[in-house]
Symmetry: C2
Subunit: 356 residues, 2 copies
């Protein structure tokens, strides 16, 4: 029962004028008399006229839609980024078309193609784990559609794009340095898969912090997670505690892994943070609610989304005005949230912060 939508032509016929005039009246062109504008606006309102932006988009060769491809939605970090993206995009009159790659290369390619077919004005991407070829993004460049990569970005492969990443290295460095300052020396690291640059940078930050404090790096204390799960954190923690020289602190690649470690420590009767200090990465909301609250590295997700949107919109505007685009790379600073899992004295203040 597709009912007919009111069109410019309907208004024009009703008023006995041309569609050109109606269009211009609605857009408040100076060429049109106040009298006519008034009548057009009135009728448009009366008939509930809604402009068809598909048609307008076809004519103007712009859709006012931007595409977003992320690995997954059910993830606090990414959903925060999206919130930031949408805030800025909507303010500027752009809609958001969302795609989820599920960390699959194939899905990512398909998503890119349909977004291209939908003639989006710009694209924001956090690439999937599996992706190592980037041809599907090159097509956007060929079509003159700007791309902004965030969080998971291609490194050398891409030149003419803006990128936004989090300073994983510094975040990890600060976190480990904090553990050292708490008197820990046998600090284990549960790292992520090394295909991910984030994992790699965190590992490097960990190593640098140790060597800067003249603590030798013990490969036995470095455990590699495959799927960054609670289970891995749990099991590696048991292993790390069972070593001849057990660890006295853990820096985990992610809060999920850190929480697995915390549960294992609890089960083993190990006192946190006295016997074992634990620090995570990402600062999930849950982190602050654990017992004890988890020390973690906060990533500025909202800011990342806002910045990505702003960069992209700027490039879209530059494109329209045929101005040369300046591609930027931003490295966002992290914040170390010190809590009870690494610092006994932080417990009270954290709780206080939580409850104002």
């Amino acid at each position: 029962m597709q009912k007919k939508q009111i069109t410019l032509a309907d208004l024009a016929k009703e008023l006995g004028i041309s569609t050109a005039t109606v269009s211009r009246a609605l857009k408040d062109y100076p060429d049109i008399s106040e009298e006519t504008k008034r009548k057009v606006l009135e009728l448009a309102k009366k008939l509930h006229y809604r402009p068809n932006s598909i048609a307008a988009g076809l004519r103007k060769r712009e859709s006012r839609v931007i595409g977003v491809i992320i690995p997954e939605i059910v993830n606090h970090f990414f959903s925060s980024v999206i919130k930031g993206i949408m805030e800025v995009a909507y303010e500027a009159g752009y809609r958001v078309m969302l795609c989820q790659s599920d960390e699959s290369y194939e899905k990512e390619v398909k998503d890119a193609e349909t977004l291209l077919a939908n003639r989006i004005d710009g694209l924001m991407v956090s690439i999937a784990h599996e992706t190592s070829d980037f041809q599907h993004f090159r097509e956007f460049q060929d079509a003159g559609i700007p791309i902004v990569f965030f969080d998971k970005v291609p490194l050398v492969e891409f030149e003419n794009v803006s990128k936004i990443v989090v300073d994983d290295f510094q975040g990890a460095y600060n976190s480990v340095q904090h553990l050292i300052s708490m008197g820990k020396r046998r600090i284990a690291h549960f790292r992520g898969p090394l295909i991910a640059y984030t994992s790699r940078n965190r590992l490097e930050g960990y190593k640098k912090a140790l060597s800067d404090s003249n603590i030798p790096i013990d490969e036995n204390l470095i455990f590699g997670c495959q799927d960054i799960s609670l289970e891995e954190g749990y099991n590696y923690c048991r292993q790390a505690l069972a070593l001849d020289e057990p660890c006295d602190a853990i820096f985990a690649v992610t809060d999920m892994v850190a929480m697995g470690a915390m549960i294992a420590a609890r089960d083993a009767g190990v006192v946190i943070p006295d016997q074992l200090a634990i620090a995570g990465f990402s600062n999930w909301k849950i982190s602050a609610l654990m017992e004890p609250p988890l020390t973690s590295v906060d990533q500025p997700s909202l800011e990342m989304g806002r910045l990505a949107s702003n960069l992209l919109l700027k490039e879209i505007q530059a494109n329209k005005k045929e101005i040369e685009i300046k591609y930027e790379t931003h490295v966002l600073k992290t914040h170390l949230m010190i809590r009870g899992s690494s610092d006994k004295n932080a417990i009270l203040t954290t709780r206080q912060i939580l409850l104002h």
Copy 2:
């Protein structure tokens, strides 16, 4: 530097045939010779032809895009629903345009209007707290665009739409009945604002469970949350414990509130679950990771999203074929996840489930 995209006309000119033939060749019409099809497909591939679905949409009067309006994205429940929605929609060849109302009526109206202007083929909505007028959705019905409401749905106001809700009443009932079966008698309820039907239904479920067990309802044990926060849970728990006849269990409207209560109990040195049992609602991932793990009512968010998509797609198809649409209302069952915060003996098994 908007570069030119390849169009049907480009292909046609290159091959010396008409756009009509090219179009039909690409769509594999039986009218076109295999030879021509082959040549067209070949050239299309070579030139990286991407169909302009904006143009096709204009002509075919369909966009293959569905709109989604939710109160907020940074929320495990809603992001799960979206995941479910997108899974099904993408499988059927539909894109998703996402909007976030921020619980604001004004934003919701604006979102609805731009989605309408973008000629979406269907709409899914979870309405904002503030919304009590529904004219902006009526316009979709007038335009023959199907709507499916989920989670937060208008009750009596709307007739010709499908709705999907969670059985809050039954979920609350089961939860409270469980607390009773654990030997609790002074069960407090931290309810949500009564404008929300979900809050109201949970309150009713709570009351029914009590009266079915012949436990008198004590209004002093019912506390009203305004913004459903950790702080409210914390404060109400202190109040509930400070009563002349303190409570021995709490059923909270949401896990967030329940966790606030847990922290308060911890601070007060009250033993969970022996002295105070606590149960929440929503079953956030965190719930299972608290110490002790929080008993909670699981809402089938993914299923809700999938079902919403399926219903909407069915209505879109029916619309196209001019078939009468059958509007459905679904009430999804919840699952009570019994954990250590209400049942001592559940502790181990929960942990076991978590770690396989």
